[in-house]
């Protein structure tokens, strides 16, 4: 049986509480979207040692997210974050911004870099430049298709991580769309992004998390896992940010079982209990279009293709 790694993103101790981590091999701690998220592991550096130790004690790897859009004024914090993550024994740092990658390199690469979804990795050449700067893993941009990802892994000589389930990151900014006043004075901050907000227009639904725009539909690769295993992909992400503990726990359990079966290489079929869990937690439907070269919101497949409540 081929080995694989299932990674969960989780921003805060509050999000971690109640989440069953047993299906996962690793957790990426912290939100890359906003430094003001309460309890953000990427901001509250004193929380890192305990969280990393807890994950290691459970036999899991601990990665630490860095801010996706650090302005110049944020860079001193980023430097401290790198130091704190390394001191806590984290296994890697997730990086979206090339300046942050350079800071890590200048510090002597105290821990490996995993390039995140906003790092805009589209080619094997870009992956190679990042590898030379300290990256060992990349998550290509959402728009990159599965065949392209294979090329990036092979010719860029990096490990490629795939989002297999959850909201697709579509955009990031440093201005919070949910606030009307500056974030320092608006009483809605930091509560607003803990609430659920959607953006709807025509046939489209997106999820707004303040400084980020996510897909309304959930990426779902459940029926394609045997192909991913055959293609040699080994690292898979479940996007747990801005989701419930039940979502993280139940989706993780589905993918642990499904990936184990796919990796074994035998007969594979999507179980009813898997689809029940996936549909229960996907309020706006399922998608996976980018991986197959179509619009991101589309669903490509034969098992769950008619389960999109919002067209």
């Amino acid at each position: 049986m081929q080995e694989f790694e299932l990674v969960l993103s989780v921003a805060t101790p509050g999000e971690l509480a109640g989440t069953d981590l047993s299906p996962y091999d690793a957790a990426c701690l912290g939100s890359p979207y906003c430094r003001r998220v309460e309890g953000n592991y990427a901001e509250a550096l004193d929380l890192l040692p305990e969280a990393v130790s807890r994950l290691h004690a459970a036999g899991k790897k601990a990665y630490v997210a860095s801010p996706a859009t650090p302005r110049e004024a944020d860079l001193p914090h980023v430097g401290r974050l790198v130091d704190a993550a390394a001191a806590a024994g984290a296994d890697a740092m997730e990086i979206h911004n090339m300046g942050v990658l350079r800071i890590l390199r200048e510090k002597g690469r105290p821990l490996p870099a995993h390039m995140g979804a906003y790092a805009n990795v589209y080619t094997h050449l870009a992956a190679g430049v990042m590898r030379e700067a300290g990256a060992v893993r990349v998550r290509p941009n959402a728009e990159v298709s599965l065949p392209e990802m294979g090329t990036i892994a092979r010719e860029g000589r990096v490990e490629v991580e795939l989002l297999v389930h959850g909201k697709i990151p579509l955009g990031v900014t440093d201005r919070c769309f949910l606030l009307t006043e500056p974030e320092e004075t608006d009483p809605k901050c930091p509560k607003a992004c803990r609430e659920e907000h959607w953006l709807a227009s025509r046939q489209w639904v997106l999820k707004s998390v303040g400084k980020g725009v996510l897909s309304g539909r959930d990426m779902c690769m459940l029926e394609h896992l045997p192909r991913l295993a055959r293609d040699g992909f080994r690292v898979f992400r479940v996007e747990g940010l801005y989701e419930s503990a039940a979502y993280r726990s139940e989706i993780g359990a589905v993918y642990r079982e499904a990936l184990s079966r796919a990796a074994a290489g035998g007969e594979y079929r999507v179980e009813g209990r898997w689809t029940d869990a996936v549909l229960r937690h996907s309020a706006k439907g399922l998608c996976n279009g980018y991986y197959f070269g179509t619009a991101g919101r589309k669903y490509v497949g034969t098992v769950l293709q008619d389960r999109n409540p919002e067209v």
Partner: protein, 332 residues
């Protein structure tokens, strides 16, 4: 003195921009720049534009600033080799891997890191300098303190957009358009134009500019008809500060606008910059405001019309052929 860089969406626009006072003009290689094909140029036209630029003692920059597929790297190298052989030396790129590849192949090329790189801090600027860029474009909302710091510490040229759109998200980090509609159109040379992806093919459907409802968890409308902010800006007040900071290039975006409007914008900035440099101490922006307001109104009218058309396109049926290599099965 800061260089004035203008857009060249056609040969006619290239000539108009130079005649109106631009020091340099950028054009997009067809299929390879952050605009749709109708505002890009094929290779013979680029060569013609480069020769014209040299004949008037000015610079033509060629944008290859989309993020291609790995399989298209040989095409990129062949195309830039051909342009290099014709005397083109100035290129605008986004992918750091392509930057390094081109610089290694032709060390005397001059590479600018595109606005698509989303450069927001000094360390970003240094990263792209190490990848081969001699100049970087500042992200549209970068503050002047960061610009000053880049000039002081990064040892790299700095380019600032004075006419552009900001994007709702950070420019270069958005895939909202291709989430709604994304296709493949492969041209005769084998280049995929990725319609619907501004990062990959240049065509953005500007879905952020349609009316959105903000909806709560139970479907209740929290705010109706909200617009995701993506204003077009036209800076004039900042020009004296940009000159003081030592900005190397002041850039006017706008390949999709009419030739007449681009000419008018270039003349405005040329005269404003010259007046400011001529007598910085007594320069006042006030008298320029009325003329600026007229240009902005004209620009906004052209933009509104184009945006409405793009949003309609985004909801049209997918009519272009899909990449046969991917063989997708799409739900109805």
């Amino acid at each position: 003195m800061a260089e004035l860089l203008a857009s060249g969406g056609s040969m006619e626009m290239v000539r108009a921009a130079f005649e109106s006072g631009a020091d340099a003009v950028y054009v997009g290689a067809k299929g390879w720049s952050r605009r749709r094909a109708q505002y890009e140029m094929d290779d013979p036209r680029i060569v013609e534009a480069a020769k014209y630029a040299r004949s008037v003692g000015k610079i033509l920059r060629v944008a290859f600033n989309t993020l291609p597929a790995s399989a298209e790297v040989p095409l990129f190298l062949a195309k830039t080799d051909a342009l290099y052989a014709e005397g083109v030396r100035d290129f605008i790129l986004t992918d750091p891997g392509l930057m390094m590849a081109l610089k290694n192949r032709h060390p005397d090329t001059i590479l600018h890191a595109s606005v698509g790189c989303t450069i927001i801090n000094v360390q970003d600027a240094l990263f792209y300098k190490e990848a081969g860029a001699s100049q970087i474009v500042a992200e549209c909302r970068m503050g002047k303190e960061t610009m000053r710091k880049i000039k002081e510490e990064a040892g790299v040229g700095l380019e600032v957009l004075v006419h552009a759109t900001t994007c709702y998200t950070l420019l270069g980090r958005c895939t909202m358009s291709s989430y709604t509609r994304h296709e493949h159109r492969v041209d005769a040379a084998g280049k995929d134009h990725f319609p619907g992806s501004p990062n990959r093919g240049g065509l953005c459907y500007r879905v952020c500019l349609t009316d959105w409802d903000q909806v709560g968890p139970d479907g209740e409308i929290e705010a109706a008809g909200v617009t995701l902010p993506n204003p077009a800006f036209f800076l004039a007040d900042d020009i004296p500060d940009l000159i003081d900071i030592g900005v190397d290039t002041i850039k006017i975006q706008g390949r999709e606008y009419s030739v007449a409007l681009v000419g008018e914008m270039v003349r405005f900035y040329r005269e404003l910059i010259d007046a400011c440099v001529r007598d910085r101490a007594s320069f006042r922006i006030g008298p320029w405001k009325e003329r600026m307001a007229r240009i902005v109104a004209e620009r906004d009218a052209e933009r509104r019309e184009k945006t409405a058309g793009l949003i309609e396109e985004s909801v049209a049926e997918d009519t272009l052929s899909l990449d046969p290599r991917l063989k997708p099965r799409v739900s109805p």
